[in-house]
Symmetry: D2
Subunit: 305 residues, 4 copies
């Protein structure tokens, strides 16, 4: 089929490649800056150096897949295409958008006669090779129209229609919340192993657990790779970003009255990992000095604070 | 090789079967009560209706693998065999023993000239078919001696020698701690999905996530099976036992000064799942009535209290 | 001074009383339904059976203090008075409003030439006797104008101007978040004491701790009272509501990247206290059956599920 | 009455002072090193430069109160006095001993005909002035014998007999667990306030909350003092020790199947406060790089790790 991919960052560029490699699709690759477009053209895509050009190079009903960052960039991209598109065209948001934004955008686009899909996309840098897990919500007829592309992008059985607008990004949001907590689970386990007196080889142990144990998983296979590169992770600082979905999952848990200690705790552990010093713990140190005369550590360049 | 398996519960009986099916081993199957021994004999094992008989039916250096429950039964079994065994014999504890007990037992057996292995065993009811993940600590020469049996019991690459006595059970303990937290991660995610307005088919979503997503795992494959049997888990109560390893993992985290919020939280969630009513929450309800005049729910047969 | 109190629920009615008892103020008491107005009139207030009547009975610059529930009722009350008020009048929101609403309302009222104060109010049913702790944000000149009433409503040193609009309700929000976590702290402690083999008299122990120990507090004094009424809290179910501020505190912690495990955990414990059964724990029970063959409890009328 | 205090650290020395100031007691003050004994003698105590001397200077039935650190020092002190004491003498452990040790010691001392009390002692450096909250377990007749001293040491209503041996230290243990979680509650709240856009004066806000609010407490009064000394706690590092009771409280919660998220979380926050870098968070950073290509921060002198 024919599809436009707009936003040629790491994810978008790889999706263009995967579509092209299948030999089954005509791909128009667009981006705000020209460099990535040139590159995609070099790999067999048709290039679009503007939204306008992408619209012109696609036949109605057009399919435009946005792979720009969530928030403002996605808002501008979708609303920009909405201005240029015509009735029946299909806009897909493959980014990590907040599902409430997707619900709102679907309604706004529907008023213009456009069809919208929110396609939660998992797979990271492995997607090019393995395929992307695609969780799709929105207009059912649009989903059916773009299935040939979904089939190429995903591994076998790796895409599905999950329901009305927002269902895709909601599922992706929870997926990432679960991912946060799974990472935390392994991470705590490895720290306990690391500090034990047994001197474990964590790469070997990860590998062992991946053969027949209850905790085997793809993430644990990646742990093998990580420990192979750096057995004690000495080169890496324990500093972890978060990108929105974990926070939204906790907000949603609160909205739904779901006790989500594991997911919230995993999010808070990331916050703590990025603090040079903790004001909360300063308060406790100060109070312990007040009631018990306990010594405090002085803040300073060597004190992390 | 020749091996005695003592303790023919679900795990032990399946291990006897897996060893027999390979056609490579002579297996003496023993148990305190005769029924399971008869059954094993019917499947090709030699039967031992007492510890004494098992010792008599094995050639020195004997290999006796205990698969009885942790705690008193394991203590009695190992110490019972220690009385009967002779220098150079090998005793293996494949149960979920506390690693500190294994350290102690290894020392006690070493004084008698016996060799001990602590073999943390994961795989559950799937081990018969898939093989058991075996995390082994203890006497290195004993490990080498029993490798032919380990190779049969485990899937390829599914067993390893991890270090001195206790290293096997310590690794299994942490494995289970990680398992608790992973289960909690998925569980919270599924509850958030379940209470969303999207009416997700959780079996289909589990299946989707297992094809290309970051959170794919064996446990998630089992989730597909569970939701296939009972889409809303209506037949199951949210009541979860725990069996020691999770508690020990938290104790060990405290011993090592490791912040283990995810694992401890998963353990506490199990405790809470088994409470008919929570005294802590009664206290809060009572205090809110005191300071704010907030209504309380009366305890009673219908009140869960 | 002269002040109108609109909303004569438990809190509002007591505030009218406290103002009247001082003998220093002329109080116009208003409410949507007439009963509470009649009652306040019986105690010395002037009655206002409508917003219009309240406006008519006050001299400009009028001071109207809203004590209706947060959310829609507060929105309607404040916007209703805004329609009737004239430039320079002062509207005060003493309810538990979300601070973001107060910021928005302050701006909307400012455009109409009205002055707004958000007055976080703590003290519960004890406020009548002890005084209310008043955390006030908003228009500084308005604060100064209403200080005579604040001085009467609060205990000595029990009111303060905290900053621009929202500062009062933000401080009250965090106050309640801290309150959730403090209650959880005591509650867990009492449950551990209760389940110990020592058979503690929790009323006596609360009283003891209130005399010289580090954890003495007003809440602990209330615990004495609660345990005096019902030593084992047998008549109370462990079911705890929450009313918004705890949730907002967690949202704000997430907004600010603050690890807030204690406050979030206290909120989640309330969610769990209200669940008849936990879907998350059903998932774990189901998965444990799948991998380990562990028995599950069947849901049913007696099973809480 | 007549009493020996052995162990003249900050707590012990202050207890000697408080007893002396009452003018009601003859106090023998002992310590392993002579300096603190000289000081106590200068304030009116009789000095004991050895256990032997303390025993000699007291009339049977002797009362010896040990105020040395928990663990080995307490073991040596109590067992040392046990060698020297005679039937009917009373040994009191006022330190922060593990209640299981107190149970064991009570039994050992009982066999020698000695009476034992475990006296959990709260109050910190304020005890000298305010009095110590004394939670006492053990031999009832011994408790009655030493009541005159308890009455002097405690504030009014600030001591009580709580039950058999261990009941005092168990109550003190839980007291400290509650203290950990209360401190965490305030600490999180102050961090959220601190990072808000309102620029709160935390001393003023602590003071405000102490006048009529639900969260008023002695710890919050100490917060006023701490913020008065250093408004932003800039001179203090967020590094917090823990001294045993918090850990034991969590162990006991696990022993009793009590979900203790708040207390355990407060303990874990202290662990995290003392880590220069977190291995767990390194694992997560490494895994995120593996699956998503996310950048990691390099460890290094400036990187905290």
């Amino acid at each position: 089929m024919e599809i436009g991919i707009y936003g040629l960052g790491r994810m978008g560029a790889n999706m263009v490649r995967r579509l092209l490699r299948s030999g089954e699709h005509r791909v128009v690759a667009g981006n705000r800056s020209p460099g990535p477009v040139d590159e995609a053209v070099g790999e067999g895509a048709e290039g679009a150096y503007s939204m306008q050009e992408m619209i012109e190079k696609l036949e109605p009903p057009r399919v435009v897949w946005s792979m720009v960052p969530a928030g403002d960039p996605t808002e501008k991209t979708l609303m920009g295409f909405a201005e240029l598109a015509q009735e029946g065209d299909i806009l897909i948001d493959g980014g990590n958008s907040y599902f409430r934004d997707s619900v709102r955008r679907a309604a706004a686009l529907r008023e213009r006669g456009l069809r919208f899909l929110d396609a939660g996309t998992s797979g990271g840098i492995w997607g090019l090779e393995v395929g992307y897990c695609l969780m799709v919500g929105g207009d059912r007829s649009a989903f059916e129209h773009v299935e040939p592309a979904l089939r190429t992008l995903a591994p076998p059985d790796g895409y599905a229609y999950l329901g009305e607008a927002g269902a895709g990004h909601f599922a992706k949001m929870v997926h990432n919340g679960v991912e946060y907590a799974m990472l935390q689970a392994y991470a705590e386990g490895f720290e306990i192993l690391k500090k034990s007196p047994y001197g474990y080889d964590l790469r070997a142990l990860s590998s062992l657990w991946n053969h027949g144990s209850v905790v085997r998983s793809w993430l644990l296979e990646l742990a093998e790779r990580a420990f192979e590169k750096d057995a004690d992770l000495e080169s890496i600082r324990g500093y972890v970003e978060d990108s929105g979905e974990g926070r939204w999952t906790v907000l949603e848990a609160i909205e739904e009255d779901v006790p989500a200690n594991a997911i919230a705790g995993a999010l808070f552990a990331r916050f703590a990992s990025r603090q040079e010093d903790s004001f909360a713990m300063k308060v406790i140190a100060a109070l312990r000095r007040e009631f018990g005369g306990h010594a405090v550590k002085e803040a300073g360049p060597g004190g992390g604070g």
